[in-house]
Symmetry: D2
Subunit: 299 residues, 4 copies
């Protein structure tokens, strides 16, 4: 299949490579010529603009962009995809943006005769490289069925969450919970340890009790409790605090529009913002535990 | 073995019965004569006061009391256990109280020549009846080894958390995390649903993603997502909101004494307090989701 | 002076009347023909569109619109003001919007050769009628000097807050503090009363102590402590909960863009949202105290 | 009049001196012999213990102690005041403690035939020295009338807040509001400044608008906005963060016992705790603004 791919960053780059590896023909675009060159070397063709890409004979276009403003620009702009693409070409946006913007773009696509799904991912750059991402998809059953085999080249878990925008809704709701849980684990671990419990013992209790959660049993923020997680290597790598902050911003914005209270979600956003303001936005988000521990506060 | 047991309430009653069932000889005390009568019928002997119980030839005394004030009264009072018990009798307090109070009583016991452990439980009245409680134990290795076979008659998971008070510390830290997680799941589920995602789909996404936790995959608060949990039966049964509130009160009090910030823990306490003040303290704590959902707020 | 005025709602209507009263010539526009008819009766001329209004010989245009999307549409749209107005006409936006949007529109105006200030107001519909509004102005000194005598017909307190957008910044920061203070007073009054202190005594203590604030000494939320405030009349009139919610949404959005933590500001937003979701969005914002008082929760 | 005074610290010392200055005869006690010596030099007599002091012919005893545990010890202990004092001696506790403990001690005093009032103060060490404290009194009208002239030697504002414990209740409620307001002002000032508004302009807007409060117009936390306040001198002097933390601990504890939600009060407590844990507990509480400002976070 001939697929167009826009946005070849840390996530989009390896995703595009997996499509090539699966035997698809690829035309790509990115503002970074280095990123484009890398893909061309791997067998893709380069387009000189979104419009030019849209005017090829691709049957599917996938976008992986930083924020809603980019997505709106690329799809709805004067020289954007919708103004240039043939009707019926399937549009897949894998960017993480707010559900309302996703619905706005999908509605414009529908008006133009293009099926469109939102398909944000989880699994990080690691999952993008190994092709084991989770896709949370919003769109019709038919569009999901069409997209499924293509997404399967890049991920192993592809879930339909309902109509347009629901992929984004499911992702921001899950990630808001993740942001809350990580702080909850940070507080519980810090409290147990400050009361005299050994950190490994505390983690063991939690992991076999009602406090059990992914942030505790798979990604524990307390140094020394687990190997091969960011807390074991000074919080390098992983999912950055500022990326968590972006997702919590999307979640609270979506909540505001839906008039839905999210008290702990908003508190979590502010705590990561506080930690980021103190200069730690690049650290993995589990480093938030340092906000709770004396010796680390001003390291 | 001849064991003394004080406190025959919803938890203590079935725990004492399991000790009888395991073949132990039991002398019991409770302020409720009905509770005592039930145990006597099951084979226990009755003592007329804590002092009288302490003066028998028991080699172990177990207490299961509502709060630290009761524990201090029963152990440290003029006619209390320490004033009357032989040295060397092993003292086991399974009440849930703050770690500092637990350490204060254990220190007094040590002065009197009595080994003592704190051994609060999780698992609820169901676990008390079926003998499948988890015991979180604070005390020395030797005292833990002595207590272990006795506790095994009442629970299946018996964990040493370190020195005196650490059983309480581990429990309040875990339960604080549980209280936070349940609100986090309530917010994430409510947000997803208010954005248009089906509740079962949303729960499925969370349970296979980084938001996964006990509150979501084992005890989901959103009605219709699971069977055999309080949310499936109008939030009856389970672990009451006011009991969660008690544990969060212990956690924030312990945090205050340890000078440990617990921002989400304190927020969770206040949210359950708000919900309780609105008249819902008797409902299972997962009913906190109703604070977030329009149609249920004033039902 | 010939002035154009767009947006004749609860605030804009009386503001425009005060301009007429001060002897100015007025051309007005609103989507509601009834609102326009009212002003015409009072002596204004009607324009049939923003473009038509812009093409008259007005030397100043004032806008008073509900949200940033309307402001952007009216100023930047294809048939909007900037596309039709003469250079040098002074543009005054009195809408309450986020500072970044205000700066975006002012920059577009500058490019077109039009001086522009943001001049949001406080003082409510009462102040609009009596011409006693406070204007918080963002713009250059020269533009402020030009606008000052015009604004003086509608308000009595006209403050320059710095460059473009700073009027909005000052307003959202002040109103965020107001939203926090009102909840703080609600909690302190409720706590004092629940501990046994008479409400009037408690208010008296606060008003002569370090807790003194406008929310306590001028607008106390506890019924029976003051006359002529919303709490004395079932929370009717005043500044609606949903309007406070809008301002807190602007404040937290501006904080997000500035990467500035506002932990209590975000908590306040969520508490008003919770109260609004329970069906009380139309009540004066001081009714938030009912979230803290048993007997009122589900009235 | 012959008055007994226990507790000669930063507050009690100058208060006792003001009683001497007013012509009263004084017998004092403190664990610090240096503190006692200072008062003896000023004309007081020394007692060797609380019991010895109680056995003199004092007609009034005033206590100024650090916490409820000390108050209970001094009044209720075996060698304490109640066990040794004549009936009818008026007891005045000016310590700041929780209302429930105040009521417990007053009830014990009543049983023993002693009138007792709680009379916590505000005004700080400065007010103690200059005799301009505010006394918030809980007790009967008759006891208040008897105490009034004595308190007038130490303060200028003496307010009856209702029955026993209400002085404490009024104080903790007011100070909780103060703790919230100071954070609210810190957030609003930081937000305004981070959006580009000059700090003095921002303070001016707040002080003439609905955000006006003591924390803004009398004790502004933003450096450079006011003279003669802690923010003008590196946050030295004033009311320490750890003292605010103590009062917020009393407020949330009293709220817990009264089953009264205080969401922002609890959040404020946690934020001061976070700031204290970072090593700033000795700074004036208005330094909390540094939690919100990048350049100061790790100074």
């Amino acid at each position: 299949m001939h697929i167009g791919f826009l946005g070849l960053g840390n996530m989009g780059g390896p995703m595009a490579r997996n499509l090539l590896r699966a035997g698809h023909s690829l035309t790509v675009f990115d503002l970074s010529s280095a990123a484009v060159a890398g893909l061309v070397e791997a067998g893709a063709q380069a387009a000189t603009s979104p419009a030019a890409l849209a005017q090829t004979d691709v049957t599917v276009i996938i976008t992986m962009l930083p924020a809603a403003s980019h997505v709106k620009g690329v799809y709805l702009g004067e020289n954007g995809l919708l103004a240039n693409v043939r009707a019926d070409v399937l549009l897949i946006d894998s960017s993480t943006i707010d559900p309302m913007s996703a619905r706005e773009v999908a509605a414009a696509a529908a008006k133009h005769g293009n099926p469109m799904i939102d398909a944000p991912v989880s699994g990080g750059t690691g999952g993008a490289v190994t092709g084991t991402l989770t896709f949370m998809v919003g769109g019709s059953d038919a569009d999901f069925d069409q997209a499924q085999p293509i997404l399967a080249a890049m991920g192993k878990n592809i879930v339909l969450c309902g109509a347009s925008g629901n992929g984004q809704a499911a992702k921001v709701a899950n990630n808001m919970l993740l942001g809350i849980s990580m702080i909850g684990v940070s507080e519980a671990m810090s409290l147990g340890v400050s009361l005299g419990v050994d950190a490994k013992v505390m983690a063991g209790i939690i992991n076999t009790s009602s406090g059990r959660c992914w942030s505790s049993d798979t990604y524990n923020p307390f140094p020394g409790t687990m190997d091969n997680v960011p807390s074991a290597r000074g919080y390098s790598g992983g999912f950055g605090t500022d990326l968590m902050l972006k997702d919590l911003g999307l979640a609270t914005e979506a909540a505001k529009q839906a008039r839905q209270p999210v008290l702990l979600g908003a508190a979590a956003q502010q705590l990561y913002q506080t930690f980021s303001q103190q200069g730690h936005g690049e650290l993995d988000f589990s480093a938030i535990i340092n906000l709770y521990r004396k010796q680390e506060a001003c390291a």
